[in-house]
């Protein structure tokens, strides 16, 4: 298939793998983190680790929107659907994430809540038009990638003066999450990573510039990468080169999509409708200042958090679930005693087992990490 096969070519992969092998110094470790869950999925699906030398280790970052949402936000969505009887719309994966007492939106649906799965946020507006007597709430999640589409439906709902539509905003930001991973290590004087693969789709929106401060603060190189396996191999090759040179800079491998400034029009739209929250809780990373967005006061009529009285649930994770440590790359999915036993993609306990972008789901599906298993 045009523009896909070119980026999955086995011969080109072998050449790149040889170049990586030649670049790697045998006497050192290269711990490279791919921030984005989309990258994690590609790495496992295409068997990228099989092409890497043993001392190059891929570590999996928290860049999976479904995974990082804390239990209490899921509880709030369930409350909107069950108690406030709204039509709650969200993306498919979000329906299956368990909240407190393993209650999910899917289970709420089984109890009579009106929960709809969407492929596009624009469908939520259509549902609001079709159901003028019902309140319709779009459960918005995701990093900078999915924020502009949410801004667009806020804009349209505002222009159309829709009275029965609001957004439950859970959009989070990438650079603070990278800090959330690196800052605790810096404070304790440990080194946990030699380099970072920057997310491609996020950078399409925010550009590659926001990473500059990060490389200065944490002294490691960042290469923004595309999503095809050859993109990733090329980024890994470049990252290893930068590590060897001791060069802490930002580079952009994904030049066919990402610019330094990013998508200015999208950024403008985001700043029209959203502002920074003082603080937001992330699963695994805890409370982090200025790490998420909320809807501006001026558009409070479109903000589900203003419109509905939501209980602040304690939102406790299952005690045995290791998702928080997996999200910090502190543990492997297979180190969790629930993994593959009571927690599977069909019946997930932790969020990282739900989405295909979650590290646990990738390990389970492609059985990676169990040496010699396939």
């Amino acid at each position: 298939m045009k523009y896909v096969d070119e980026f999955r070519d086995g011969n080109a992969a072998r050449v790149l793998a040889e170049q990586i092998g030649a670049e790697v110094r045998p006497d050192r470790q290269y711990r490279l983190m791919e921030f984005c869950g989309g990258h994690t999925h590609t790495i496992f699906r295409c068997g990228v680790p099989d092409l890497l030398p043993d001392n190059v280790q891929m570590m999996h970052g928290p860049g999976c929107p479904v995974c990082v949402l804390p239990v209490k936000r899921i509880d709030a969505a369930v409350e909107l659907a069950l108690k406030h009887r709204v039509i709650l719309c969200s993306y498919g994966d979000m329906l299956r994430v368990p909240g407190s007492q393993r209650m999910s939106l899917q289970k709420a649906k089984g109890q009579g809540a009106d929960v709809r799965m969407l492929y596009s946020p624009a469908d939520a507006l259509a549902i609001a038009h079709q159901n003028p007597d019902r309140q319709v709430v779009f459960f918005a999640i995701g990093f900078e990638t999915t924020t502009p589409p949410t801004a667009v439906i806020l804009q349209q709902a505002d222009q159309q003066a829709l009275r029965n539509f609001s957004v439950f905003c859970n959009h989070v930001l990438t650079p603070p999450a990278i800090r959330g991973i690196l800052e605790p290590a810096r404070e304790s004087g440990r080194s946990i990573l030699e380099g970072l693969i920057g997310p491609g789709h996020v950078s399409l929106i925010i550009g590659s510039n926001p990473y500059r401060q990060l490389v200065d603060d944490y002294h490691l190189p960042i290469v923004v990468s595309g999503f095809e396996p050859l993109d990733l191999l090329q980024s890994i090759h470049r990252l290893i080169g930068l590590v060897n040179q001791g060069c802490c800079t930002v580079e952009n491998q994904y030049t066919r999509a990402v610019s330094e400034q990013g998508n200015l029009r999208a950024q403008e739209l985001m700043s029209e409708y959203f502002e920074l929250r003082e603080s937001f809780e992330w699963r695994g990373l805890g409370e982090m200042p200025a790490s998420a967005l909320r809807i501006k006061k001026r558009y409070a009529h479109l903000d589900a958090e203003s419109r509905f009285d939501l209980t602040d649930s304690a939102g406790l994770d299952n005690k045995a679930c290791e998702c928080p440590a997996v999200l910090r790359a502190a543990l492997k999915p297979t180190d969790c005693k629930l993994f593959g036993r009571s927690c599977t993609p069909e019946n997930p306990i932790g969020s990282c087992m739900v989405s295909s972008e979650g590290a646990c789901a990738a390990y389970y599906t492609y059985r990676t990490g169990a040496a010699g298993s396939v």
């Binding site: 896909v4 099989d50 969790c336 295909s356 492609y366 298993s373």
Partner: protein, 369 residues
């Protein structure tokens, strides 16, 4: 190679045992709870959930040597020869889809199940469950389509049944068909004949049926020219078994796709299988859809495909015969059976890596056939 080193050395090794147990087939948590559980869509989807339900309930109570074969058909010894018998209920939604409808599907579905035994299907029964209010014009279209399909496959519908339920108690029409046919003396197709070294062939690109159905589902309407691969396979099977009577086994990878069929066989037989991604054909239009929706074509249903297992020395001849047949023009050898770890199906990616092809709990798309 180790993929990741824990930043903080965390957990005792006993937890790693979890994965080892899992890989060794400790899948007890999948067992249905027959006292308190309820039927889920997954129980009809051709994945592990369905296999468990069959084992724990149907096989347990109907226990006999025919069912224990765990095939889509039974082989019955009669004075006239070995009779193959198979039954299949069809609940596909929507009823009409690009490349077919529930009528042609109900004929070819059973014809193909009988054909996988090596038999030429002869006679079919057809049982209809009709919903009150269902348009007769639609029923007429479906029955005419069944008649045309029966002619194409060379079978006759010789008995039937019609039941009507109140409006809302069924979704339009459901059709059950049962088929019989005689297996030629010379053939011995059985999963027990599959052995390490066997080559695995498939008669063309995968995923078309599932994606064609998906393209007509209400909340996912997209424009495409993708048609179901629905077709009778008995003529192709006749050509294959005539040329290579020593063929080991045939299976049509319907619900759950190629992945479910191969996993089930690898699990039952206690061997491993290895596939070559580069040899798996997928139509460009199907690939475009699965790329966009994040689906894996290995798990998507087919209705006109068969997987053939044969000794390596027979593979070239079988490939030629299949490629020379209209229903097998795009046949490729997609992999082989290996000694390896029991029940493990792996894929050598086009990219040069290797990954597991998991046996999933359920099919991502319900009511596909």
């Amino acid at each position: 190679m180790p993929l990741i080193t824990p930043i903080e050395q965390g957990r005792p090794d006993q937890y790693k045992q979890t994965l080892v147990n899992f890989l060794a087939g400790d899948r007890n948590y999948m067992k249905p709870d027959l006292a308190h559980g309820v039927i889920e869509m997954a129980h009809g989807s051709g994945g592990r959930a369905m296999a468990e339900l069959i084992d724990q309930l149907f096989l347990k109570h109907f226990d006999n040597r025919w069912l224990q074969q765990k095939q889509d058909h039974a082989t019955l010894q009669t004075e006239a020869g070995r009779l193959a018998m198979s039954t299949d209920s069809h609940v596909v939604s929507p009823l009409f889809f690009p490349g077919g409808d529930i009528g042609s599907l109900s004929i070819y579905g059973t014809v193909n199940d009988v054909a996988m035994s090596g038999a030429q299907p002869l006679y079919l029964s057809a049982g209809f469950v009709l919903e009150e209010g269902f348009p007769l014009a639609d029923l007429s279209r479906i029955v005419q389509s069944m008649a045309a399909a029966a002619r194409e496959a060379g079978v006759v519908v010789v008995t039937g049944d019609t039941k009507v339920v109140e409006k809302g108690k069924a979704d339009g029409v459901y059709i059950n068909t049962t088929g019989i046919g005689f297996i030629p003396e010379t053939l011995e197709l059985s999963p027990t004949r599959i052995c390490p070294g066997d080559k695995i062939l498939i008669n063309g690109p995968i995923g078309n049926h599932g994606v064609a159905i998906l393209s007509r589902r209400e909340n996912l309407a997209f424009e495409s020219d993708i048609r179901s691969d629905l077709q009778p396979l008995n003529h192709l099977v006749a050509a294959m078994t005539e040329a290579v009577p020593g063929i080991h086994f045939l299976r049509d990878p319907t619900r759950g796709g190629v992945a479910a069929s191969l996993n089930e066989l690898a699990h039952q037989g206690g061997f491993a299988m290895s596939l070559e991604e580069a040899a798996l054909k997928i139509d460009d239009s199907v690939r475009a859809v699965v790329e966009l929706l994040g689906l894996d074509p290995l798990y998507i249903a087919n209705e006109g495909k068969l997987l053939a297992f044969c000794a390596p020395e027979d593979a070239d001849r079988l490939l030629q015969v299949m490629q020379a047949h209209p229903q097998g023009r795009n046949t490729t050898v997609i992999g082989e059976v290996q000694v390896g770890q029991a029940g493990v199906v792996s894929l050598n990616t086009r990219f040069g890596g290797k990954r597991l092809v998991d046996w999933r709990y359920s099919d991502p798309l319900p009511r596909i056939c």
